[in-house]
């Protein structure tokens, strides 16, 4: 009788370990498939460059259609930064440094991160749903039957479009945010316009601040497009599978963006 709880415990323990091992195995195979998928996608780059029309179409649906949400969010984020920054800085009589605060937080962090999150929600989810539905309706297999490589024809142009659009969108976000901060700061709250710009220009560095922000957005564009396309390509070809894949795209992209942002920040801005 005394042995029973013990064996039960042992059984639970083995079950738990088995589950853990299974999860590890599936996540590793997924990572492996994802990497293989990425290599295949990248190998199609040249054939896309020969037919830039494919890329242009995707730039339209990935970049141009995200333009509005990015610019409007950038404007509002900049305006809020201007307001909040002014409230804190004016307590110390340092409202002239508002420009530095707005520009530094936008260019270093908020520009790349928030635009990447919006990009994952706006463009990434659409890519996953599109690819997943193509798979569910067997359009991808149909292409293979016609001896057209679906990766080169469908996936690579979308990947390149996301990868190229992301830095442009992040730059737009930061630029419009800085203007929004200026509108609120010097237009509404009475910070001196000249001080706003001159303090900003004196304290922002092109290589340390702006270029690092651009590098961040390039990395985020790469990762977000990869995750979105792979989740779509790897989705279970049912309506439920596609919906789950879309959710996974947004969640995984957000996690990767925030995690990578921390790591990149440590390396880029750690030594000053």
């Amino acid at each position: 009788m005394r042995l029973l709880p013990c064996t039960l415990n042992l059984k639970l323990m083995t079950e738990f370990l088995q589950q853990l091992g299974q999860n590890t195995r599936t996540s590793f195979t997924k990572l492996g498939r994802g990497s293989f998928f990425l290599l295949q996608t990248l190998s199609g780059t040249l054939s896309v460059l020969i037919r830039p029309r494919l890329l242009l179409n995707q730039m339209y649906s990935v970049g141009v259609l995200s333009f509005l949400i990015i610019t409007i969010s950038g404007l509002f984020v900049g305006m809020v930064l201007g307001l909040q920054g002014y409230y804190v800085l004016s307590d110390f009589g340092a409202e002239e440094t508002l420009g530095v605060m707005v520009a530094a937080s936008l260019v270093r962090e908020l520009g790349p991160v928030v635009s990447a999150l919006l990009f994952a929600g706006r463009a990434g989810s659409a890519l996953t749903a599109e690819i997943g539905l193509m798979k569910a309706t067997e359009q991808l297999s149909g292409m293979e039957m016609m001896a057209v490589d679906p990766i080169k024809r469908i996936i690579t142009p979308r990947f390149l479009a996301g990868f190229l659009s992301m830095p442009l969108l992040a730059a737009l976000f930061s630029a419009i945010g800085v203007i929004g901060g200026q509108m609120v700061g010097s237009g509404l709250l009475g910070v001196d316009d000249g001080a706003y710009w001159s303090q900003m220009q004196a304290n922002m560095d092109f290589r340390d601040d702006i270029l690092n922000g651009v590098i961040k957005s390039i990395v985020f564009g790469f990762v977000t497009s990869w995750i979105a396309l792979f989740e779509g390509y790897d989705a279970i070809p049912t309506s439920e599978g596609v919906s789950r894949a879309t959710t996974r795209t947004v969640v995984n992209s957000a996690f990767s963006i925030l995690g990578l942002d921390f790591i990149l920040t440590v390396f880029m801005f750690g030594d000053n």
Partner: protein
């Protein structure tokens, strides 16, 4: 799908505005135009104490920025701080008896090197040394001396 030529126009507009955004950040926000490395020459100055001076701190003469601090190191033999100054080569007529001092912009602002030209006819060249220097004023030290002095006077 829209008509392809309108689509092209939109993509073109998008790319152009993205590049304009980047240029705006480079020129208006970080002032890249003044960042471009001019030809410069290096001179060194030794300070007893360089205070809160940092690499990239400005070097100015008569209130005008003429260069940047390029390196700061400690000399273990003389226990001095060795500061290398990168001066724009258009300002190549600094006399060799120029005085260098570490000043603070405002009460709590950043520290910078101020050059006070002397009267010599010889000019500082690349690799030249500034002989006369004045250390940074450490606020705590000055405050301590002041308090000590006023206590002395009261006695």
């Amino acid at each position: 799908m829209q008509h392809t030529s309108t689509q092209d126009t939109f993509v073109g507009l998008f790319v152009a505005s993205g590049i304009v955004g980047l240029f705006f950040l480079a020129l208006q926000v970080s002032n890249l135009s003044s960042f471009t490395e001019h030809d410069s020459y290096t001179i060194t100055a030794r300070f007893q104490n360089s205070g809160g001076l940092k690499v990239k701190s400005p070097v100015s003469a008569a209130g005008v920025k003429i260069g940047r601090v390029s390196a700061i190191s400690f000399d273990p033999k003389t226990y001095e701080s060795v500061v290398q100054l990168n001066i724009d080569s258009q300002y190549n007529t600094l006399p060799d008896d120029t005085t260098a001092s570490v000043f603070t912009a405002g009460l709590l602002g950043e520290q910078y090197v101020n050059l006070e030209p002397g009267g010599s006819d010889d000019y500082l060249k690349n690799g030249g040394k500034i002989e006369i220097t004045q250390s940074a004023i450490i606020l705590e030290k000055a405050l301590g001396q002041f308090l000590f002095k006023s206590a002395e006077e009261k006695k």
